[in-house]
Symmetry: D2
Subunit: 330 residues, 4 copies
């Protein structure tokens, strides 16, 4: 039961035919950990400088069951509109403008949670506007964890249905737990971007996510920052019955831990079963750390002068003021 | 300040000359996540089947500042003795036998913590025996987190010095927090091996580890399961002043988060400083999870029939008995 | 600056005059811990059987700054309406009926949170109905922690103001943290009622609560289950500037920990300051425990046969079925 | 099965006869919460000023099953030696001196943990010295949690037995979890003394403690700071089979939660069973708090000038220096 030879259908034809599309993972975060992307600028020059590293990561996601190869062009702005879809937008209005001016994108996803976009437009209303502007696939990406994102796309789907419109739905959440995020998502968490490790989802969390997303009627199911190949493989394995095949990488993965059946220690062998991993509440091993954080934000809202795009590195003087403020708020 | 062209000195000559050796990371765990190694058997057939994937991981560790390329031959038993060092042994006595029968290894590391080996021999005594049997580099690897391993190697160093012997010291810990482990290490943790994510060390934890290991007089400083290239880069960055150069991958890494200085949000810019990351206690985002676990073990000790190497997969009957026992113990 | 000799004004006259009323604490829980009330029935026979124990607790609350002595008649149903106010009701409609049939109560508080009463009536609407039915003081008691209760009473106040009605506002929350409660409150928490200890608020949490409640315009500020005399004293101390006097029990309490100034150890003396206690995040010392729980509830809603008042103790047969169900849900 | 009419035997005669003595709880902490003792000085003037409050607490402990009434004279130094036993000493040597100079005490307990006294004398050696100096009952009190204290007394018992001496053993631990304490105990925890609430043991923790202490051969089993009457009742209930009677306060307490059998909600009724409470890991409801703390101590050891008994309140100048130091260490 391995993946069939690549069909020639495009993404819309596949979705129209009822197929499940498994997306890929978070390129900038994965390549940052491998040493090819710089956190902060997050620019994709590795695509030119270190082709083999980028190619290898693509290979791993495909092997994990991904049906798509998203061009690694994040933050390479001018090119963005040439793609068949775009993402990383926090305001529905701006997305609508792009959709109207170009005819290129068929899919549009927003970086929003259940509370809606930066202007307070609800997820449902956002989705309706995007569909009316021509998007055939709508959904959300990044900023929140899988369960929060499923909840948001559900709200979108309900509104689109109620408006008697038609669309496919798409989801690409973080691989980090974010129950403590406010409206603006994981960027405001004190751990962003260099201490997010303890929030990482396990492969079993991914099974749950894939099932929830599927049950919600979402058919493009992928990932964003934090997703590694084994996370995508877990999505593929959970939905193998529906898709009819396992991904190539499953040749190196026992179903629900079955690879442990030959382990020497009986108590490790006893972990070779689904209900063990499904019910385990994994410990952090970090008893000096809390389980939730208070997101930053300093009460500043959109339009404030502090939020203007910096043209150059923060000056020493600016930094000093920020550090003082930061210290007093922690 | 980049790495000098590779010198021709071997590992002992380098250590004798006072150089710091940065090791590489955990191949089996990293390749398992990339889809090329199967958890359970943990065998290294990827070295033959997927050479490009293995080569790419080597490339990343070298780029992160590693001075060595450990042959990816874990659990490929017969070949093991051909290497210049061996590891993954839990009893000093067995290691001593190997050292006496072959003349090959120069380095010997044990999988032990501060409580000593499986026979209750203390770390200090273990080290003394290994050195007397011919090992020129001794230390520990896997099974425990960095700080626990530093503590163990310190005990080894004290005993070797007290016995008026001479050796170099080596360390390759896990990249997982394990304060709750008993003598047998992380394998007995309920989270092993598929739900260890929340225990993962950040790059800043790695800075602390590198400094502690260096201060303890350890000069071969590497990693084991859980170490990704960015963890090794952090070791290289912490010890850049002593080594005199930064690793290649640091071109994509701002020192202590300095890459965030140009971020739009002032509160994210304010994270571009060392004391922010050093003092942050990262949250797990998982409020239903505890911070520590009770290791398994079921009170069974060495020699018990349950601990014999399985020749074939556990039978359904055996598994049923184990699952019953497991359920009642959680 | 001690409490003035008791004035003769009644509660309404005091509130009309702008005074702050400090309530008392949770009698049944406090007396359960002292050995005089049985958890489960929670009946107040101690008022007859152990008068001295009850009298002593009253004394302590008065000494802590309480202006009132609530009759210890919880669950002594027939007498309830004779009191000047009633509480422990989860439906606004029933409270309205009582207010209409009797002329006795001047105050009515509901056991509800921000999601409203058992019939889904919002806190604002509940408050408006109660005021229209004659209540002069409205608010909430029990079931949720202080901050959740302040939020609920704020919603009540807004609605009453919007409806151009007038009322005083009253609050009597739990002394337990309940961020994980669903609509039905702390009874559904797995820890209720015998393992709530780790959720107990400190005296400093009480300072914050008193200030928030005062700022929200609430003038009857008290407590419910979990409140001990020192919690009430903390309310009195926080509001001493506004009330103009400290409670008698403050003779045994240094302001913000100032009693530690003479301690032998300098690091303990250094805790004699407000910002230390205000910013401390106290540890639980229980690393095997999570920080939040999943409330019970089993999906059963109001009216279900399982929720009928039991006339006699659950039979062994009934219990067996419940235990099976309970085991499978944890 | 109620307590027999008070026998006339003294404590030694009872212990010699094989009886179990249940101690009482922590007077200064309990009375501090009730408003009669000041934290910091911790002096017992309430015994004169508020006799009824002190008498009531004695009544509650007796009702909970306590066989003894310890005189409420903590920190009333001159009188201390008049008692039949003394406690709150952190050095064996000093205790030995007292035992030799006076003939009064029959029992001597030290404030130590498994690491021994302030001079590094092991618990075993401490016990042997005390017995040799005339103590007939030896043990530990305060500073650590029950399980740590049981471990310490076990070490004492082993050493006394090995030295072919005879003694009875006594234990009076804290009612707070202290896994993170260093040698000096809970005073160095950042939460001492005003934010210890989340560390409080439940009644079920007390059952476990009573059983462990009994199994370790300890026959005087009591409590110290944090113990409330219901904690003592739990000790009495756990050991009711061995003692042959339940305490008076058990008339208000269903065995292992059986009082919940009549509750309306089935999921609360399902909590009326021993294995529910024994296995529950109670949540703190405080997701911003860690599970363990780093004890203070600032690296200062015995004899340092900073540790001299203060004659007067710390001056503003001294405090300022301490606060600066404290801020930089957190």
């Amino acid at each position: 039961m391995m993946a069939p030879a690549g069909s020639k259908k495009n993404i819309l034809q596949r979705l129209d035919a009822g197929e499940i599309i498994i997306g890929d993972g978070g390129f900038v975060f994965a390549l940052e950990k491998r040493g090819y992307v710089k956190a902060g600028p997050w620019t994709p020059e590795a695509a030119a400088e270190h082709r083999e590293a980028v190619r290898q990561l693509h290979r791993e996601f495909l092997r994990a069951g991904s049906n798509v190869m998203q061009a690694f062009t994040f933050y390479a702005s001018d090119d963005k509109l040439e793609n068949k879809y775009f993402e990383h937008v926090e305001e529905a209005e701006w997305a609508v403008q792009v959709l109207k001016t170009t005819n290129k994108p068929v899919a549009a996803t927003l970086c929003i949670g259940p509370e809606g976009d930066l202007n307070g437009v609800s997820p449902g209303e956002c989705a309706v506007r995007l569909v009316k502007a021509g998007a055939q696939i709508v959904g959300v990406n990044s900023h929140f964890d899988p369960m929060t994102c499923v909840k948001t796309v559900k709200m979108m789907k309900e509104a689109v249905t109620k408006a008697r419109l038609k669309a496919h739905f798409m989801i690409q959440p973080l691989a980090y737990h974010t129950p403590d995020c406010n409206r603006q998502g994981f960027i405001d968490l004190p751990e962003f971007p260099f201490s997010l490790e303890p929030r990482t989802l396990t492969r079993w969390d991914m099974h749950r996510y894939a099932r929830e997303a599927y049950n919600a009627g979402i058919r493009y199911i992928g990932g964003c920052c934090g997703f590694e190949p084994y996370h995508i493989r877990a999505l593929s394995e959970e939905l193998a019955p529906e898709r009819g095949f396992l991904p190539a990488a499953s040749e190196k993965h026992g179903n629900w831990g079955s690879g442990l059946e030959m382990h020497t220690k009986p108590w490790v062998r006893a972990r070779a079963r689904r209900d063990y991993w499904e019910n385990l509440k994994p410990a952090s091993g970090q008893p000096l750390c809390p389980s939730m954080s208070t997101p930053d934000g300093w009460g500043i809202t959109k339009g404030h002068v502090d939020l203007m795009q910096q043209k150059e590195a923060t000056s020493q003087l600016q930094l000093k003021a920020l550090f003082e403020k930061a210290k007093s708020s922690h």
